[in-house]
């Protein structure tokens, strides 16, 4: 045990003093922020400021109803934006935008060409062509330069649809209040059998996705560091001295612990910084956080992060023990990344159907369980035996891998300068 501690401490101190540690600590949060906020900022339809649309219909009444519905929808959205500014967690558009709607009753082909030209020349942002023919065909053309901005176009579709419903109901003789009541949108509130609500499902999804990404990235990042640490020993040729004072298993365990502690330090720095910087916001949005990030989730994150890291580290350590240079290692690295990528691939499915057969088995299989079991816990807590089994299986795998890597590493010193073949590695394991 003492040797493991000494080796881990050496590994930790050497790594934490490097410039690259400092650079990575600063750079990665910046990059993460860039990836998360950049696209949503650029793609946000509401951040485009004022829009000017024209509604064309043969009857003024129809055009006015469409204008009324779209304007109301925009006002509601602007109100939501104003509300959500108080909560930092929900990602909603930052700036409310103005919508100007003109009404036009000329449905001639010439008028359509003129308006289309204005849209092309950017004098207008869009034309809603609700002519009698279009209404009869149940297909309303929306002339716009952004034909692919589906969120914006869909919201216009909903607005037009509601306007036409309102018209039809009015024709049946319903009053405005009655129509409002009929058209009022209902919310469906998902509850588990115990009767507890799950909070905002969107936010749950985003939070668990972010946590899973942290797990994924750090396993990937520090796993490679473990591999380098093992390789370093071989390239500097110090391993023979080390092996004369410590067992190979001790060296493997020490390296994994040392590099793992570096990873935890880095994540600790990030979390502390985040808490200090957004401290006020977190308190303000405490109501929203409650029930989304539970203590169970935080505990699960800690447990599955540590186990996942340790498990993948042993694989990277094995790769490091097998090869003689980083170039050779790169060819084998995909083996370690594959199960991680696979778990990320099925994660979406798991969050939607946390109790499906594939979700249950993937959360117990040791290579996928760190990510999959965590996302299951984030969505809906599985039965305790499944959680217990996944932890036991992972610990057993880690212990087995440490022993195996130790053997590969020990026999690896007998072969310098030559990349081993698989049969050779199997043979090595028998020599030890």
């Amino acid at each position: 045990m003492h040797n493991i501690f000494l080796i881990a401490r050496r590994e930790y101190l050497e790594r934490i003093r490097t410039k690259s540690f400092l650079i990575m600590t600063i750079l990665i949060p910046l990059m993460m922020a860039g990836f998360l906020l950049g696209p949503s900022f650029l793609m946000n339809p509401m951040s485009r400021g004022a829009r000017h649309l024209v509604v064309v219909a043969s009857r003024t009444q129809t055009a006015e109803t469409i204008r009324h519905e779209l304007t109301k929808a925009q006002e509601e959205q602007n109100k939501q934006i104003a509300d959500s500014k108080k909560h930092s967690l929900k990602r909603t558009p930052e700036t409310p935008s103005d919508l100007t709607l003109d009404v036009d009753t000329n449905t001639s082909a010439e008028e359509r060409a003129t308006l289309a030209k204005k849209v092309r020349d950017k004098q207008l942002d869009g034309v809603i062509w609700a002519s009698d023919e279009a209404l009869a065909e149940e297909k309303i053309p929306f002339i716009t330069r952004d034909t692919s901005s589906f969120i914006q176009n869909a919201s216009i579709g909903i607005g037009v649809d509601r306007a036409l419903h309102r018209e039809a109901l009015k024709a049946k003789g319903l009053s405005d209040q009655e129509i409002d009541k009929v058209l009022k949108r209902l919310d469906v509130d998902p509850q588990n059998p115990a009767g507890a609500g799950t909070g905002d499902p969107q936010v749950t999804f985003i939070v668990s996705f972010i946590m899973v990404m942290i797990l994924y990235m750090s396993v990937l990042l520090y796993g490679i560091n473990v591999m380098r640490a093992v390789l370093d020993e071989k390239t500097s040729r110090i391993m023979e001295v080390m092996l004369s004072v410590s067992r190979p298993n001790e060296m493997m365990a020490g390296k994994i612990l040392g590099v793992g502690a570096v990873g935890l330090t880095q994540i600790g720095i990030w979390i502390t910084t985040a808490v200090v910087m957004m401290g006020g916001n977190l308190v303000a949005s405490g109501g929203q956080l409650k029930g989304i990030i539970t203590w169970q989730m935080l505990a699960a994150f800690a447990v599955y992060y540590l186990l996942g890291f340790a498990l993948y580290s042993t694989f990277y350590a094995a790769i490091g023990a097998m090869v003689n240079s980083e170039q050779e290692a790169q060819q084998l690295q995909f083996l370690a990344v594959l199960p991680l990528a696979a778990s990320l691939g099925i994660m979406f499915n798991v969050i939607q159907y946390p109790n499906s057969t594939i979700a249950v088995w993937a959360s117990i299989f040791p290579l996928t369980s760190p990510l999959i079991m965590f996302s299951r816990i984030a969505v809906q807590i599985p039965s305790p035996w499944q959680i217990g089994l996944s932890i036991v299986v992972m610990i057993a795998t880690i212990a087995g891998m440490v022993l195996l890597c130790g053997r590969i590493y020990r026999v690896g010193i007998l072969m310098y300068g030559k990349k081993p073949t698989l049969p050779e590695i199997v043979k090595w394991l028998r020599y030890a």
Partner: protein
Amino acid sequence: MYTIELNSVRKSYDQFVAVDNLSFNIEQGAVFGLLGPNGAGKTSTIRMMIGITAPDSGAIRMFGQPFHRPQLQRVGYLPEERGLYKKMKVLEQLVFLGELHGMSADNARQKAAEWCQKLEIAEKLQNKVEELSKGMQQKIQFIAALLHDPDFVIMDEPFFGLDPVNASLLKDVMLELKKQGKTILFSTHRMDQVEKLCDSICLINKGAAVLQGGLKQIKARYGKSNIQIQYDGNGAFLEGNPLVGSYNNYGNYVEVRLAPGADSQQLLKMATERSRINRFELMEPSLEEIFIEVVGKTDA
């Protein structure tokens, strides 16, 4: 008491037998030479002694007990493959290796400073290893092997790559350790280098011992059959002489190997009759010659 005992130790890798039925003992306080050409099985033998690999069969005893890992804290090992953590500072590195050998950090720090003083690299204690010259790195490695005051020192090709100044420095350190009663094992293919230091040797070839025992006894057994002759004038007396088995002319002198049963005094008489002799010296055979002779016989 023996510091280490090897009893019929065998190690094979696949078809290749690296060490074959090897037995030898090293007395406490002795300087022992494990000699042999490249690939003879020296390093494989040492790796089994320090538990990096385990023998397929046979037994190893250390300090009078069956081998177990805690004994390694009393062993200092300088491997043939030299290496240090390049990014670490000299002092930190030595303290780390000392702690692994069971020293306290303070003790290791103090001893490291003392050794660096002794080997004249004290000013480099705070430098990173990668900033040092190769010769200095070698010194650090010697210190790393000796820092924890081991009772048994194993050095695999210790003089390899050393300049004469450092080689002589190391030799002095070794003699000092010997005086302190430490057991030292040298492994090398450069037999001339350890000949001066060793009490006893084991010559191995192709994994098996071909000759072992005290250096003096071995040399005595192989007798003084070599003669160096320095002369003026005609060396023709060597040609076709039945007393001469073979000879090598080095220009300044001739090295003569007597024919079996020949008397050196007879040769001296013959030589003085024909030339002016400046030097006529009976030589002990070098280990290298003995080795070549023994291996030649076993190969034949």
